[in-house]
């Protein structure tokens, strides 16, 4: 039978429908489609896909099980390398990782590895009865700071080796960016909760409402008997553009906008936490977070949503599928544009006018791409005199974050780089003995899977160091 040149399509909610609800966009393969897609794998000799995976999942092996309809077996292979299979199958940028290495992809579309991973994980979650069993304890304690992708991965890997792991989370719910950042329609919260529950079954203790650097310091964790500490505290303070008007009401950081909607559930009909709904919204930025914010605004009832990005479609850093979904849903991409000022309502006649201080528009300037900059991407340059105004009621700044200073400020001897990221070696070890770090706290804003990879590396290093 000849190989199908295209990936089996992922069934999705129709764009017109999903633009108005928070249910998951991608619906997942059926068993038949999953088996058919698995059959596209050539099972080639050198498995380049595995090297493209930051946690080195044995991809051809799990796909081989799927061909035989052994979905639980496939899941077990994935679970050996990944603590969060159902999450990664949904949010990994496969097109720049495993799938871009796929041999089949040289001629045709690559195998839909991410979609297969998701299927295996969902199948397991729907069918597996037995709980995860904690291994025999080895009597050693490790503290993990932050319950996002890096922290959960590090905790999971150590727990599987018998360590008593306590995860400290600053917010009231475990999951980090998976809970406060990535919206329900892309990653249902029940899936995150399920993954967290699996860790609890493995014996991981998760303490919410503890802010390391405030409630407890890293040094106190050692005093309490922890022998190693992993810092996976995440990205931190949102960046703004430092243009006039950013203090007007209706200007949000993406972190705030998404946290209100996701963590605080402002998207529900009768929310306790308010958010601006409806109107016209501009989201500034081109990453996954920008796509999430734009599509959230749309689902909250916005009449029109712009993505304003200073480079072109080619440089857009978001995951390809998210960009396509956003376009299908009617998000208006204004590329090669950059905001220069946010405009607000001021009534000089009446200082008590309730409309005073609310956003009315955003002045932008058109850009063109010049010579490549340090990052290798062509640098956007302003086109003089090309200013124009978008009429909007809200602006969401999704232009990255700077590391949170709380831990650095309270941990003597913890070195950070110029941008505030914690400095680590190839094992994730920081300048402090026994203190490891990974994820956005080290790299600045990056992906879920790279954070998981860092959590994994650190878990291995911690185990080696403590086993000596």
């Amino acid at each position: 039978m000849p190989i199908d040149p295209k990936k089996h399509e992922m069934p999705t909610q129709a764009p017109a429908e999903r633009a108005h609800n928070f249910r998951e966009v991608a619906l997942g393969y059926s068993e038949e489609v999953a088996v058919a897609e698995a059959s596209r794998c050539l099972n080639c000799k050198n498995s380049p896909c595995v090297t493209g995976c930051p946690v080195n999942i044995a991809i051809p092996d799990f796909i081989a099980r799927m061909k035989e309809r052994d979905f639980e077996g496939a899941y077990q292979i994935i679970a050996k390398s990944s603590s969060l299979p159902a999450v990664c199958g949904r949010v990994c940028p496969q097109e720049t990782q495993c799938e871009c290495q796929c041999t089949l992809g040289k001629k045709f579309e690559p195998v839909g590895i991410g979609r297969l991973e998701r299927f295996a994980a969902d199948w397991h979650n729907a069918h597996a009865e037995e709980k995860a069993v904690p291994p025999a304890p080895n009597g050693r304690r490790v503290a993990v700071v932050g319950s996002g992708p890096s922290g959960l991965t590090c905790a999971g890997d150590l727990a599987k080796k018998g360590y008593a792991v306590t995860v400290y989370e600053a917010l009231h719910t475990a999951g980090g960016v998976l809970v406060y950042g990535i919206p329900e329609f892309r990653l249902p919260k029940s899936i995150v909760a399920r993954e967290v529950e699996t860790l609890r079954e493995l014996g991981v203790d998760i303490e919410t409402n503890v802010i390391i650097g405030k409630t407890l310091t890293v040094d106190e964790l050692f005093d309490m008997g922890f022998e190693a500490v992993f810092i996976g505290s995440g990205a931190g303070l949102p960046n703004f553009m430092n243009i006039p008007g950013e203090a007007y009401k209706g200007v949000y950081s993406a972190n705030e906008f998404l946290t209100r909607s996701n963590l605080m559930k402002a998207y529900l009909d009768d929310p306790k936490t308010p958010i601006m709904k409806g109107g016209r919204v501009a989201v500034v930025g081109g990453g996954n977070v920008a796509m999430d914010a734009a599509r959230t605004a749309l689902r909250l009832g916005a009449e029109h949503v712009y993505i304003v990005y200073r480079r072109s479609m080619e440089e857009l850093p978001a995951r390809r599928e998210e960009v396509e979904h956003a376009e299908e849903e009617g998000i208006d991409f204004r590329l090669l544009c950059n905001p220069v000022e946010i405009l607000g309502y001021e009534n000089p006649e009446n200082p008590r006018d309730p409309k005073n201080g609310f956003v009315t528009g955003m002045k932008c300037i058109r850009m063109e791409l010049g010579e490549p900059d340090a990052s290798g991407r062509r640098r956007p340059v302003e086109i003089p005199g090309s200013e124009f105004t978008l009429d909007v009621d809200a602006v969401v700044m999704a232009i990255g974050t700077s590391p949170n200073p709380l831990i650095k400020n309270t941990t003597d001897g913890l070195e950070v780089n110029r941008r505030g990221g914690i400095i680590v070696n190839e094992d994730g070890l920081t300048s402090r003995e026994g203190v490891y770090a990974g994820g956005d706290a080290v790299t600045g804003a990056a992906t879920v899977i790279s954070a998981m990879g860092a959590g994994k590396v650190a878990a291995r290093a911690i185990d080696e160091a403590l086993s000596k």
Partner: protein
């Protein structure tokens, strides 16, 4: 879950609670705050720590019923539980090298000013306290202030108790009469802190203000609590009240902007409050 060990009304709209939170009780210093959620689906609200008892492991909060969440909070009873209680957040009020301090508190802001006054008193500074309220029935913590102040002046806007007028009146009088302070620390409504700062300016006394903007996480993640500081050359800098504050140099704060931002959800909050009130009336 965090147990409410004691609850006491201070006036018809202001309540004091002591919450069991041993880790925070050990760490919190005057000027810092906590974030709480009353119930599992509630919003996160910041409240400044009004005192701690490290031996007992309790943290004191004092809140005014101003909206839906504080209304719900006030319906919790002694022995009951709060869903979440996290902190201590923000930086403590600085007290180094301050020998003569004037504490200016307004309304429920006095609940935050009181532990600051106590701390200065404990450190041996000379403490002058000016506390102001709209009227006599809203007066709180007079005895507590008296105990830690070398001089206490109580003001009511309507003259129903003590001296009539707002807090800037006695402050100006003292400064004009040649009284000198190393620092004025003011905590209360934004408009009051703005005028206290303006009153102190001609005398060059440093003013610390405690900002209380809208917040969500309180840990430096959402940026909702941003405040604009304006230096002498007019250069504007964005700061986050949760990690950089909540205390700031009063002379640098853009108060008008902060007041405007504080009203962002005024309409939503009014509706939510009305709904919460009618819900409790039915119950």
């Amino acid at each position: 879950m965090y147990r409410i060990v004691r609850k006491k009304p201070l006036n018809p709209t202001v309540t004091q609670m002591e919450i069991e939170a041993p880790l925070i009780a050990r760490k919190a210093k005057p000027g810092q705050f906590i974030i709480l959620r009353v119930d599992a689906d509630g919003e996160r609200i910041p409240l400044t720590v009004a005192g701690t008892n490290p031996e007992e492991g309790t943290v004191k909060i004092i809140f005014q019923i101003v909206g839906a969440t504080t209304e719900c909070l006030n319906h919790k009873e002694e022995g009951g539980f709060l869903e979440d209680f996290a902190g201590p957040l923000g930086t403590p009020t600085k007290s180094d090298g301050i020998r003569k301090v004037c504490i200016v508190g307004g309304g429920v802001g006095c609940a935050i000013a009181m532990p600051v006054a106590e701390e200065f008193h404990r450190l041996g500074a000379e403490v002058t306290s000016i506390i102001g309220f709209r009227s006599k029935d809203l007066l709180i913590l007079e005895d507590e202030f008296r105990a830690c102040s070398d001089r206490l002046i109580v003001m009511t806007d309507d003259g129903s108790y003590a001296r009539a007028g707002n807090v800037t009146v006695p402050l100006k009088e003292m400064l004009e009469a040649g009284k000198r302070f190393d620092e004025i620390v003011t905590i209360g409504p934004l408009v009051m802190m703005k005028f206290v700062t303006a009153a102190a300016k001609p005398f060059g006394v440093p003013v610390t203000v405690s900002m209380n903007p809208i917040m969500i996480d309180g840990t430096g993640m959402c940026g909702g609590c941003r405040i604009t500081l304006v230096d002498e050359e007019g250069k504007r800098t964005t700061k986050f009240a949760c990690v950089d504050g909540p205390d700031f140099n009063g002379y640098e704060i853009d108060f008008d902007e902060a007041m405007s931002r504080g009203r962002m959800y005024a309409e939503f909050e009014r509706h939510a409050y009305e709904e919460a009130c009618s819900l409790f009336r039915k119950a």
